[in-house]
């Protein structure tokens, strides 16, 4: 059994280590990373960071009410319904979900006030939609562990609902807010299908550059350098998440 566990960890580790290995086979390591700093690539990195930040904030705002409803639903049937509606998109593949947004944003019968398809704004809508189920599940798990009696106590002491929310519910659900935001940011930072299809080649995020370099130009070392950038950012975020949450678990 422990061997199997070690095997699982080994698999995971191996995923992480192939990439630097490729840099050796490609030779000249520094050149690949210098190439990352070319203006058009820096723009992709900047756009990725901007879109990821916007996605995280919008996803958080859109997910909190649903998560609250999910965590506080009294009847099991309502909870199952909410969970089912959240999980169905969660498990529907990236391609199907992105294609759905291509139809919604790019059809001929609804005229959107601004052009959305093949624009960063359209990519943003798709990314928020993509991140919501994950955020809802993380927030709901955090809210489920907030004792409702504390909210009732605050209310019985005269706090208005808004005050109860700001002073009791929100602070107690903060671990979920922090971990959800970090995970969504990390996930969006390496998003591929959504910007590839909804961006139509005009919006390039880091993952799209990785794919272009690897599968279209066959520049594996250059592509690997980009993949490392994405990997480094996500690992740093997750390490930060671990540090933020560790003291709470210890107490």
């Amino acid at each position: 059994m422990l061997f199997a566990t070690a095997l699982g960890a080994l698999f995971r580790l191996s995923v992480l280590e192939f990439v630097p290995g490729s840099l050796r086979t490609g030779g000249a390591t520094a050149a690949n990373f210098r190439a990352v700093l070319a203006p058009q690539y820096l723009r992709a990195i900047g756009e990725t960071a901007l879109l990821s930040a916007a996605t995280t904030i919008l996803t958080l705002l859109a997910s909190y009410p649903v998560a609250y409803a999910l965590a506080r639903a009294r009847s099991g049937r309502v909870r199952s319904l909410l969970l089912g509606l959240t999980l169905a998109p969660f498990f529907t593949g990236a391609i199907v979900r992105t294609y759905a947004w291509m139809l919604v944003l790019g059809n001929s019968f609804v005229t959107w006030p601004v052009r959305l398809l093949f624009e960063p704004s359209g990519v943003l809508v798709g990314l928020v939609h993509f991140s919501m189920p994950t955020m809802i599940l993380i927030l709901a798990a955090a809210l489920a562990h907030v004792e409702p009696a504390l909210e009732r106590a605050a209310a019985s002491l005269g706090a208005r609902p808004a005050r109860v929310f700001w002073r009791v519910t929100l602070p107690l659900s903060m671990p979920g807010v922090v971990s959800g935001s970090l995970i969504v940011f990390a996930w969006t930072f390496s998003a591929f299908a959504t910007p590839e299809l909804l961006g139509g080649g005009r919006v390039k995020m880091i993952a799209n550059v990785v794919k272009d370099l690897a599968l279209d130009s066959f520049n594996w070392p250059g592509s690997a350098a980009f993949a490392i950038v994405a990997l480094a950012v996500t690992l740093a975020l997750v390490a930060g998440l671990g540090r933020l949450l560790a003291p709470r678990e210890a107490s």
């Binding site: 593949g93 139809l103 794919k211």
Partner: protein, 271 residues
Amino acid sequence: MTARAAGIALVVLLLAFLTVPSLVVIVMSFNPTAIMAFPPHGLSLRWYENALTYPQFQRAAVNSLIVTAAGTLLALPIGTAAALALVRHGVAARAVWAAALLSPVVVPGVAAGLGFLILAAGLGLLASRWVLIAVHAILVLPFVIRSVAVSVANLDPALERAAASLGARPSRVFRRVTLPLLRPGLAAAALFAVIVSFNEFVVSLFVSTRVTEILPVAMFTYVVNYTDPTMAALSTLFIVATFVAVFVAERLLGLSRVFGLEGHSHAGPSR
């Protein structure tokens, strides 16, 4: 009460945002013309026929079935062993536990995909279906571990000790006591693995060829090149299948337990 009504309206609106794109796809899939109109001028199943007879989709569907079945069968025993080890010997392995659970989130799809591509090239297995199968097994492993672990946590070790004290050998205890008690967790794990594997796209894009590619990859290529509702028809089949699978998973295991939603709000005494 008006605040409550406003809250409910907001939640319904947000859920609509989550759900409506899928509904649009379903409506569009019955559109009789290649140029999509809304509301559709009539009903037609021609795009379903198109989707089901398109040779590349047929080949990719067969590939998907092979890769998903083999990947799941590979991940189930490994994941079960890992879940048993992690829950029973929890403290020592907790770091690995967290790492394994987070790995699909932590490692960007393109980084994993490129890594596997480079490894496969190094091993001379570039066109091999086995690479795809191994990749899928690894990607679904965290879901398998998590589902089985829920069942392991609910399994009373006293039952196994009782069987052992009555003279059953370890292998017999495992087959007659442990395994049957883990059955709901195993069923859910298999279901999750199948759903995740069948929908996996980014990593597969990197390690498949035109001959071995699975359905989502073939669908991606199709969307990039064509705009007719054939994709809508195929997507509808995916959406319906996923919805049914999620419904079955909820029935089998109670999804709220898998995702840690059982907290104070559902505990009996606090009601």
